[in-house]
């Protein structure tokens, strides 16, 4: 199971180490982790994507994280309506004759060119990790010289789907 977990922590040195150390000790494999300042001064927000086998393991993970003194809040937002974004920088082999072709391919992804040289162009793309994957797959045939991804950051949407009763008269 792939879970998206957000953790609000006190912004202190060593906190990231504490959290990742805990995951390592309990054998959780992190797919991605991002950390940055939050809206509150002195507080940071971490988002991590982690793979777990079952509900009990995820519950244990959340409880262990919650136990840390520097951790203020832990949320598993996987099953919520969420906004999730990742940024990738991709340096693609792009000789002049192929450039317009590549540019047309990347357009639906709303990727932008942020640097270009004689034979290489660097694209920036943001979106959900799946979109980034799709973008990378698409430009791979041209030759990727360098790739750098930030990992996903996320939080819940303002409006959550409610389990409203089925109103259709057809069902």
């Amino acid at each position: 199971m792939r879970r998206v977990i957000t953790v609000t922590v006190i912004n202190q040195s060593g906190v990231l180490n504490r959290v990742t150390g805990l995951l390592m000790k309990r054998q959780f494999n992190i797919e991605s982790i991002t950390v940055g300042h939050s809206e509150q001064p002195g507080m940071s927000k971490m988002t991590f994507i982690v793979h777990v086998e079952d509900e009990r393991k995820i519950e244990q993970l959340l409880k262990q994280l919650q136990k840390q003194i520097d951790v203020i809040k832990v949320n598993d937002i996987t099953d919520k309506a969420i906004v999730m974004r990742e940024l990738a920088l991709v340096k693609v082999v792009s000789p002049p004759h192929a450039r317009s072709e590549i540019n047309s391919i990347i357009e639906p992804f709303r990727a932008t060119v942020i640097d270009s040289g004689k034979n290489v162009v660097t694209y920036q793309v943001t979106g959900a990790p799946e979109k980034i994957e799709a973008f990378i797959d698409l430009v791979k045939p041209y030759g990727i010289k360098e790739l750098s991804r930030t990992g996903a950051t996320a939080f819940t949407r303002e409006i959550q789907k409610v389990n409203s009763p089925q109103l259709s008269i057809l069902k």
Binding site: I10, R18, G21, R56, E59, Q66, K67, D70, I72
Partner: protein, 575 residues
Amino acid sequence: MEMTPKSQDEKQNNQPMDGSAVLIQGLKDQGVEVIFGYPGGAVLPIYDALYKDPIPHVLARHEQGAIHAAEGYARVSGKPGVVIATSGPGATNLVTGITDAMMDSLPLVVFTGQVASTVIGTDAFQEADIIGITQPITKHNYQVRDVADLPRIIKEAFHIASTGRRGPVVVDIPKNVATEIFVTKEERTSEVNLPGYQPTTTPNYLQIQKAAEAIRFARKPLILAGAGVLHGQAMEELKTLVETKRIPITNTLLGLGCIAGNHELFLGMAGMHGTYTANMAISECDLLINVGARFDDRLTGNLESFAPHAKVIHIDIDPAEIGKNVPTEIPIVADSKEALQALLNQEFNVPDTEEWLAYLRGMQEEAPLWYNIDEHEFLPQEAIQMIHRITEGDAIVTTDVGQHQMWAAQYYSLNNPDFWVTSGGLGTMGFGFPAAIGAQIAKPDERVVAIVGDGGFQMTAQELSLLQEMRIPVKVVILNNGALGMVRQWQETFYDERYSQSLIPVQPDFVKLAEAYDLKGYRITKKEDAEQIFREALLSDEPVLIDCRVKMLENVYPMVAPGKGLQEMIGVKSK
């Protein structure tokens, strides 16, 4: 040992002090009555401050001895044990004790010296990344970067160590922070403010109601009590629950003592070397009420077949323990005392358990703990029973890990709570003897007996110095079987008697060793002499060492083999 009373010279706030003086003052504010430690380069300023403004200090002969003594002190007194060690090797020598305290939820506040901030990270002389090293083995740790943070950090460290699920906290102090001068800005008495740390102590009322309801409908209820009962001082409430509702009770290794060993509803310890009746009661009960135990694998055996018929109520102050190993129907996150009080306040009918009790009593009579008396050799079980008889079950008993520990758990039936000091979770050889020193310092008027093996004792034997120097009347009983007994037993049982590196044919002369430290040493070689020697040694007011030679090939039974279920005990003998 002379304990000077708490210093009365209350220093005023807003007076310039250096970091070391702030630390010593902070310790006094916390009511620290004794420090266990070992000086060194990086903590010289702290020791200098201690010279000017003394708190009684126990100079162990190795940092491991200091921290195990602090654990023994914490276990018996219920107060945090305080340890000071220098940077680098001093700090790394504490690692075993810190882990041991973490596993057994003992409150410790450990101050380590660190090289000066300016050279941290340069591999300076006696530098070790003790924050990185101890992060996974502490409840929390701090490195003090600014002397102005020190008063707050000291308060937080003691608060974290001694509340909620207790545990060790490390505070790493760079040498320059210890010497920096600053004017205390904050009130030393101000409240601790930790938004990320709010332990739940009061139980959820609905869950308590559910628990009461479950007890009401149980036919075969069973209480499993762990160290959480002792840490929460919930012994009275537990006893009331057991007696008024007539529910049988078993203990984990660390929970021993929370009910008197001879209580009529006590089934003995459960788990790998628990009693047959206790383990069968777990296997057959329909309601298991776990109070403050964490379902350790040495207790549960194979989880697949653990308590297969039981609905589980789990009371624990640490929510992460609930459901970790055993699925729980009724989780109650709370302090054990508050939870049991809330449960006792519920009006509910007493389940009729007499049939269940009679069944268990029959089993106890049918399959009690047993051993075969040897005509020539003295058995360790006999030794423990003899110690029990002579001390009337009233001594504080400390142990290491291994065969002697299990025999002590089985045969030293405790009358008092907080009189059992053992290394449970980590299973630390070398723990028992220094822990006995700490226990004796906590309770100078009680008789303290360290029951240790010949292997473990040799890991921290240098602390014999303290017995002499401080006139600490600990009685060290070495159950000497010339082997690493439990290792040897496992090799016998699971490795076809291939005794790889578990026999110790060459031993020091332990009596002479005691004499080298100017202590009285006894040796028991013949079982006929045992009673008289034990009586003389254990009842003396002096520190003594007793080298008690016991049968080498004796095994601890009954036993749940690793990976097996509790119902598959081996070495059960029925009458």
